[in-house]
Symmetry: C2
Subunit: 88 residues, 2 copies
């Protein structure tokens, strides 16, 4: 079990599908950013499902893997990120 920060950059055509998939595994943080704990099996499953949605030549998803959420401190400036949640 590790804590993940995930940032995706995918074509508009696939954003809704990717966003909905990610919401089943992680917490949404900002327009293209999700966070949360994943067990290894969950990570494997998520990677397989993402692979089946994204276009490898065009879309990119970066995973940051941390031992726990205790090692990271996050803050934001500007608009509160959560107001995007109703966009999708």
């Amino acid at each position: 079990m590790r804590y993940y920060i995930l940032v995706y950059d995918v074509n508009e055509k696939r954003v809704v599908k990717v966003h909905r998939l990610l919401r089943r595994y992680l917490q949404w943080r900002q327009r293209s950013v999700f966070e949360g704990y994943l067990a290894d099996e969950e990570l494997g499953e998520l990677l397989r499902r993402l692979d089946s949605i994204i276009d490898e030549s065009e879309d990119s998803v970066v995973f940051y893997s941390l031992p726990s959420d205790k090692v990271v401190h996050s803050f934001h400036i500007g608009a509160p990120p959560d107001r995007f949640e109703n966009v999708l």
Copy 2:
């Protein structure tokens, strides 16, 4: 000195200015993602400059602060992120 992962979500009108500012402080990783070490003074300076560019009601910048880059492991799926670099 801490290691930062920064993800921005700003209006198209301001993306170039934000991207160029961030490139002076951090390494670009993916379309809206930068990483790197910042001393407290640099962070303060960067926050002031970002504040002067972004529209607080519309743009959002999330900072993840880590004790070092040794605690985070990152990987990506899909297209290599760096091919966006020539976009700006």
